[in-house]
């Protein structure tokens, strides 16, 4: 299990690098590196479905973020009152860490989960659905409502993005409106 700890430390280092850099392009590339290491961690944790999904989703997210920041750089200037903001945020995070560490003591030990519902899925999954991939049988047969909800969320996101980038509505009433990105 030592490789798991090393990869997690690598992710934290990558996240700190992504936060502190002033150049936006390097920050986005660093976040892409964090996503790639996360996909490798998913492989080590024996979750191959998630590794495939994470790496392709992270690639698409990376491309979209790059398209947003091309040719715009970051003139950064700090003012004095921002120091107070940093201290308050650090204090809040310290309190959050303290409460979370107290709550983590109730979790079962790492590696020995309580699988009360999942044992039934593991035993009867193949007989009841006929699929060998048990994760597919869960998301499309035992818990198909959640997949329906997720399809609705994706549809709503697509409609939302297409509404935000529309050009109609910004012209006056008597101008001829031309749809150039319908």
């Amino acid at each position: 299990m030592i490789e798991l700890y090393i990869l997690l430390v690598l992710m934290i280092v990558g996240a700190i690098v992504a936060i502190e850099l002033k150049d936006l392009l390097s920050a986005v590339i660093s976040t892409g590196a964090v996503g790639l290491v996360l996909s490798i961690v998913f492989l080590i944790i024996k979750a191959p479905d998630l590794a495939i999904t994470q790496i392709v989703v992270e690639m698409l997210c990376f491309i979209i973020l790059l398209r947003a920041i091309l040719k715009k750089d970051l003139p950064f200037s700090k003012t004095d009152s921002w120091l107070f903001n940093t201290f308050v945020a650090a204090g809040f995070i310290a309190m959050f860490l303290f409460v979370a560490v107290k709550a983590f003591k109730d979790l079962p030990e790492f590696g020995y989960p309580i699988m009360r519902v999942a044992n039934i899925y593991l035993k009867e999954g193949l007989a009841k659905t006929g699929a060998s991939n048990l994760v597919s049988s869960i998301i499309l047969d035992f818990r198909a409502y959640d997949t329906l909800g997720e399809a609705t969320i994706l549809f709503t996101a697509v409609i939302g993005v297409l509404t935000i980038v529309r050009r109609i509505g910004r012209k006056k009433k008597d101008e001829i409106v031309e749809e150039d990105d319908e």
Partner: protein, 150 residues
């Protein structure tokens, strides 16, 4: 500079792209169809199919990509995917309950087993792939609009 960007990338990329686009699309379809036997499923396969069209668009510029897959076709595929998923669920309604697995299970570990799961995977992959490509087209077109105004 934006006119060069519209025309796409350099010559090496334009020569390689016809081979890799077909391979990526085929790989995405393979992951969708074998979703019930090996890891993958509808979501990962749909995103890979969207990525193949994004690859086509990045290499050649947006006119060529939009000629291959015009906007009406993208919205048609997305709506078809969502409606197909819903109709598979509602057909199960007539047998007993919502999402009843009504097709026979078949033998294990074969391609044509597991009831409605392969059809659901295909419907979801159509929806996810078309939706994500539509988002990408919309964001890229917005960017080029305001770059031309400057």
């Amino acid at each position: 500079m934006s006119k060069e960007q519209e025309k796409g990338m350099s010559l090496i990329v334009k020569v390689i792209t016809p081979f890799t686009v077909g391979l990526i699309l085929l790989y995405g379809i393979y992951i969708v169809l074998h979703g019930h036997i090996s890891p993958g499923g509808g979501f990962a396969g749909g995103v890979i199919i969207a990525l193949s069209f994004v690859h086509l668009m990045l290499a050649y510029g947006k006119e060529v990509a939009l000629k291959k897959l015009p906007r009406k076709t993208i919205s048609f595929f997305e709506s078809t995917g969502a409606l197909l998923f819903l109709s598979i669920a509602l057909i199960g309604f007539s047998g007993g309950y919502f999402f009843l697995n009504f097709i026979s299970k078949g033998e294990k570990f074969r391609l044509f087993s597991a009831g409605i799961i392969p059809f659901c995977n295909i419907a979801i992959s159509l929806k996810v792939g078309a939706g994500l490509f539509a988002i990408f087209i919309a964001l890229v077109l917005l960017k080029f609009e305001w770059e031309k105004k400057e």
